[in-house]
């Protein structure tokens, strides 16, 4: 009898692995063969011996299934727990070792729980580190609570954060009773000619000596500025930042040495720490104008500090170039200081009616200026990661509940054998402490990686972003999260045991009392996860739509094919004379020659020079319309744009009325200017402004044309009212060259740089990039928040999907016997499928409804970050519904399909 062939015929396929199947068949064949020989040897007939052997393989379907199941890695029964020892510490150590052993035997569960915890805790640590460093840690100023910005206000132009005039600064200093220091500072563009290498563009801050004291700056080398350095006409030494010292001078001894800034020799008297400029850029950006390098480009660190050396001749009361910071006296309330300074402003208004008419003052806490703009988006991100953490904990709770249910027999037996509840609790706590610790350790690794990416892509204007790292405080947060999860979820399986009876000892787990409680709790957790996922995905969807709207919003000019280069023309070689309007023959000649040479580049279609590139807000001025002076109080200040005539063609700004600027407008009297569409709509509604006169800077100008409105304050803001005048009529030391090319603008970059270097080797060229790059950079903050929230939303979807899948899988496993009975009694697969899917759909539907309600309630917190879309946008909500329904459907389908594949015979045999 060929038993091998017999067994092979009965069991054609077992595990799916041909080699393994062959081994099993051979072994079973030997067993039945030996049974046959034994029966034959004891006197049975061949037929009887055959029956005795063959009966072993009677139920081949069940045998095949059992062999297949047995040959697959399965969760194992837990080994018996360690016996009690003398000391509690030893007991705890025993519990921990036992817990590690137990967890190693269930690698799938352990990996899922640790990974989920690591994700949830990891992103929480990363974002908390940012919030802690940027917002929570106090600003590094001494007496930060007493530091305020003193903004001048102008009711005539409705500005609330204006720079001050130098004479006003002196008057505030002299007359204030409530401040013990008032300092002034001003952003200046500088260029540095190092001993070797190319000239560099610098961010220079001109300060009065009180500023450094108020900011708590301490020199690393040398000394700080003294009052004698601040006297007009004095040599004007400089302090340089550690960053510049190391990058440009390799840390060489520099104190006492002379360096050339803006073509003028300056003695270095000290080196200050790089972070001495904390908050300066944020202050410059907060000002309505006069922010200099802080407001207009990507420079975010101060390289050089020099004395302001202000005097009333250089800075008369009509000009407002300086920003003021004050330290309130000890114990002085901000309201008292406000009243005091308002009194002074009123006195000045009375004394200097021409210059200070309708001017006031308002104080703002310095911390609010520095941190205020970044607080809303960072808090939104913190709320998002808190939701992620809750979802991760819910998923882990589900996993622990499922596992706890499977271990009820073990717990019931130990309880019946006399184990105290406290002992059981300690063991479960030990297991969850091990899990949570592993999760927290992995979370730290993940957090490091996430933080490195965050710091790289975060907008540079977030204060202290480069200093973000994981410190003791964030470690404590991680440990706290882990401890919370460990302790709270340890109690769940023990709570389940309180309702277990000894009589249930050997019954199957799903019939033990407490199984239904666990099912309800799991269902609640999944509903909560779905609801939170809706909130996160809705938030991300709204931000994605906002960003999309921003990208789709026409900026008012065409960036395609354009290259920008920023130039700094030092006064020493390009002097500007005020006669009384500024003029400069050197700048005019340089600009003319530059444009001619640029136009000769192959591929160059047009070129222009502007005092401010199209995304640079520039500065503004009040203006009047003759015979409509009374209306001026209703108009904001007008943005002054100084451009060469080719500007509009280069940037393809459309002409609405009249004509573009021409060379003749510079010399005409009154000078010709062009206004934008916003001026026409707001100041000349229903009237053609061409030919009308507009007055600013104390002289009249004739409007010769109207052009389309550029969004010079950023795509997210409405275009301001703006007037364009010939650059040569009012030249600027800092200007931007814009070139339109027929091909890739980057290919012209090196040629442009070479031409400028040939014309003036000492000139600093910076910001050489396609204008499309400049536009993209202007959306960095919106992009950053959108990308982060979208990442969190994806994470939330994964967690929700895992949660739904886990709960339904557990339900199917527990209902396996019932499903088997139903199918054995005639229920078809479709009905079983519908039943399981209905359970999942019910949980998802409840979660969706809760989630949408929460989204609508919480949506208002996002309003400040949205553009072109409301927080209750129906299209976004519909999109979220589709996405979540699809994810939920997939998560429900997989366990439902497993339910349909239950073999009724096998299920009925199972306990």
């Amino acid at each position: 009898m060929d038993w091998h062939a017999y067994v092979r015929e009965r069991l054609p396929e077992i595990t799916g692995d041909a080699a393994r199947d062959e081994e099993i068949v051979e072994e079973l064949a030997q067993h039945v063969a030996q049974r046959y020989e034994e029966a034959s040897a004891s006197g049975a007939t061949p037929a009887q011996a055959f029956d005795a052997a063959a009966i072993q393989l009677r139920d081949r379907a069940a045998l095949s299934h059992l062999l297949r199941e047995a040959d697959r890695p399965r969760p194992v029964s837990p080994p018996p727990p360690p016996t009690r020892s003398a000391s509690m510490l030893s007991d705890l150590w025993l519990d921990v070792r036992y817990a590690i052993r137990l967890l190693r035997r269930t690698p799938a569960f352990t990996a899922a729980a640790v990974a989920t915890l690591a994700l949830g805790i990891g992103v929480t640590i990363a974002i908390f580190s940012v919030i802690d460093t940027v917002l929570i840690r106090p600003a590094p100023y001494p007496d930060v609570d007493r530091l305020v910005m003193l903004w001048e206000t102008d009711a005539a132009s409705s500005t609330a954060r204006e720079p001050a005039s130098f004479p006003d600064f002196l008057d505030f200093k002299a007359r204030s009773h409530t401040t013990d220091r008032i300092g002034a500072f001003m952003a200046i563009d500088g260029n540095l000619q190092p001993a070797t290498g190319d000239p560099m563009r610098l961010a220079v801050l001109a300060v009065t000596p009180e500023m450094l004291e108020m900011l708590g700056v301490r020199p690393m080398r040398g000394r700080l500025l003294s009052p004698s350095d601040d006297v007009p006409g004095a040599p004007g030494p400089v302090l340089i930042s550690e960053r510049l010292w190391r990058s440009a001078y390799n840390g060489a001894e520099l104190v006492g040495q002379s360096i050339r800034i803006n073509d003028r020799p300056r003695t270095v008297i000290g080196i200050v720490p790089t972070d001495a400029d904390f908050g300066i850029v944020q202050i410059l950006r907060a000002a309505d104008y006069g922010g200099g390098f802080g407001a207009s480009d990507s420079r975010t660190r101060v390289d050089v500090w020099m004395p302001l050396q202000g005097d009333v001749k250089r800075f008369p009361r009509t000009t407002h170039p300086i920003l003021l910071m004050a330290r309130l006296g000890p114990g002085v309330a901000p309201t008292a200081a406000q009243d005091d300074l308002t009194r002074i402003a009123s006195e000045l208004e009375q004394q200097y009616r021409d210059d200070n008419d309708k001017r006031g003052v308002s104080i703002q806490p310095l911390s609010q200026v520095v941190f205020g703009p970044v607080e809303p988006p960072l808090l939104v991100l913190m709320a998002a990661v808190a939701l992620i953490l809750v979802m991760a904990c819910a998923n882990v709770a589900n996993l622990l509940l499922t596992r706890g249910t499977r271990r009820l027999r073990e717990v019931a037996m130990r309880s019946a054998l006399g184990a105290e509840t406290g002992r059981l609790v300690r063991q479960f706590v030990a297991e969850n402490v091990v899990l949570a610790s592993a999760g927290a350790a992995m979370a730290l690794v993940l957090a490091f990686a996430v933080l490195r990416t965050l710091v790289r892509i975060a907008p540079a204007e977030i204060p202290r972003i480069a200093a973000v790292g994981i410190d003791m405080r964030t470690l404590l947060v991680a440990i706290g999260c882990a401890a919370f999860v460990a302790l709270v979820f340890s109690l769940v399986p023990v709570a389940q045991t309180t309702r277990i009876h000894v009589a249930m000892l050997l019954k199957s787990e799903d019939r033990v009392v407490g199984g239904s409680d666990a099912r309800r709790l799991r269902a609640v957790l999944v509903i909560a996860e779905v609801a939170l996922a809706v909130v996160l995905v809705t938030g991300a969807g709204l931000l994605i739509r906002s960003f999309w709207n921003l990208l789709a919003t026409p900026p008012g000019f065409d960036v395609s094919g354009t290259l920008k280069a920023d130039l700094q023309l030092p006064q020493s070689r390009y002097p500007i004379q005020n006669n009384p309007m500024p003029t400069s023959t050197a700048i005019e000649q340089f600009n003319g020659a530059l444009i001619r040479r640029i136009l000769a580049i192959p591929g160059a279609q047009s070129a222009a020079i502007a005092a401010n590139h199209p995304l640079d807000g520039g500065f503004a001025s009040s203006f009047v319309i003759p015979r409509r002076e009374a209306e001026a109080a209703n108009w904001p200040e007008i943005s002054i744009r100084r451009v060469t005539p080719g500007y509009f063609a280069t940037l393809r700004v459309p002409l609405v009325r009249g004509r573009f600027l021409e060379d003749r407008d510079r010399a005409s009297t009154p000078g010709g200017v062009v206004v934008n569409q916003t001026v026409m709509d707001r100041v000349f509604p229903g009237i053609d402004p061409v030919g009308r006169v507009i007055g600013f800077w104390g002289r009249p100008w004739t409007i010769v044309g109207v052009v389309g409105a550029e969004r010079s304050q950023g795509v997210a803001k409405e275009p301001p009212i703006a007037v364009y005048l010939p650059l040569d009529a009012v030249p600027a030391s800092a200007e931007s060259l814009i070139v339109r090319t027929s091909g890739d603008p980057l290919s012209a970059a090196s040629t442009v740089r070479s031409i400028i270097r040939e014309m003036d080797p000492a000139l600093v060229v910076s910001g050489l990039e396609p204008l499309s790059e400049t536009l993209s950079k202007s959306l960095t903050q919106q992009r950053f928040v959108m990308m982060l929230l979208a990442s969190f939303a994806c994470l939330a979807l994964v967690l929700a999907a895992v949660g739904i899948h886990g709960v339904l899988s557990c339900t199917v496993a527990q209902q396996r016997r019932e499903i088997g009975v139903r199918m054995a009694l005639g229920a078809d697969a479709a009905r079983v499928l519908r039943s399981v899917m209905a359970q999942g759909a019910a949980l998802t539907a409840i979660g969706l409804m809760l989630g949408f309600g929460l989204s609508l309630a919480l949506g208002r917190f996002l309003t400040g970050l949205l553009f072109g879309v409301t927080s209750s946008d129906l299209t976004t909500l519909a999109g979220v519904l589709v996405v979540l329904a699809a994810v939920a459907a997939l998560s429900i389908w997989l366990p439902a399909r497993r339910a349909v594949r239950v073999d009724p015979l096998v299920a009925l045999r199972q306990e």
């Binding site: 081994e23 067993h31 047995a70 080994p79």
Partner: protein, 114 residues
């Protein structure tokens, strides 16, 4: 009393212990294990192919026993199983556990013959 009246749960729960105990002294093949169980229990417990081999493969997957094919002169190769170091530890723990359990049952239900 025949094994048939014994609870399936008790039989299943003790099968691991019996197999590990039989392999403690020496390695055996599957048929011999089944015969030894039947012989030493005096016929009270017997395992069919459908119970014995799935159990052996499960124990092998857990790393408590190790199977290998042995070829002896003049005979077809057979698969022998032996106890691993981990299996010895598990056997020790299970013996201890069952000892406690039986003691507890005896205290409650007086199962030992007087």
């Amino acid at each position: 009393m025949s094994v048939n009246v014994f609870s399936r749960e008790v039989k299943k729960g003790s099968a691991e212990l019996m197999i590990l105990a039989l392999l403690e002294g020496r390695s055996r093949h599957g048929y011999e294990i089944g015969k030894q169980i039947e012989a030493r229990s005096r016929g009270a417990i017997s395992f069919q192919v459908a119970s014995l081999y799935p159990m052996l493969y499960r124990l092998e997957r857990r790393g408590w026993i190790e199977g290998r094919w042995v070829e002896k002169a003049g005979e077809r190769r057979r698969r022998f199983y032996r106890l691993t170091a981990e299996g010895r530890q598990v056997l020790r723990r299970q013996r201890s556990f069952w000892h406690e359990f039986v003691e507890a049952l005896d205290r409650v239900a007086g199962i030992r013959p007087v």
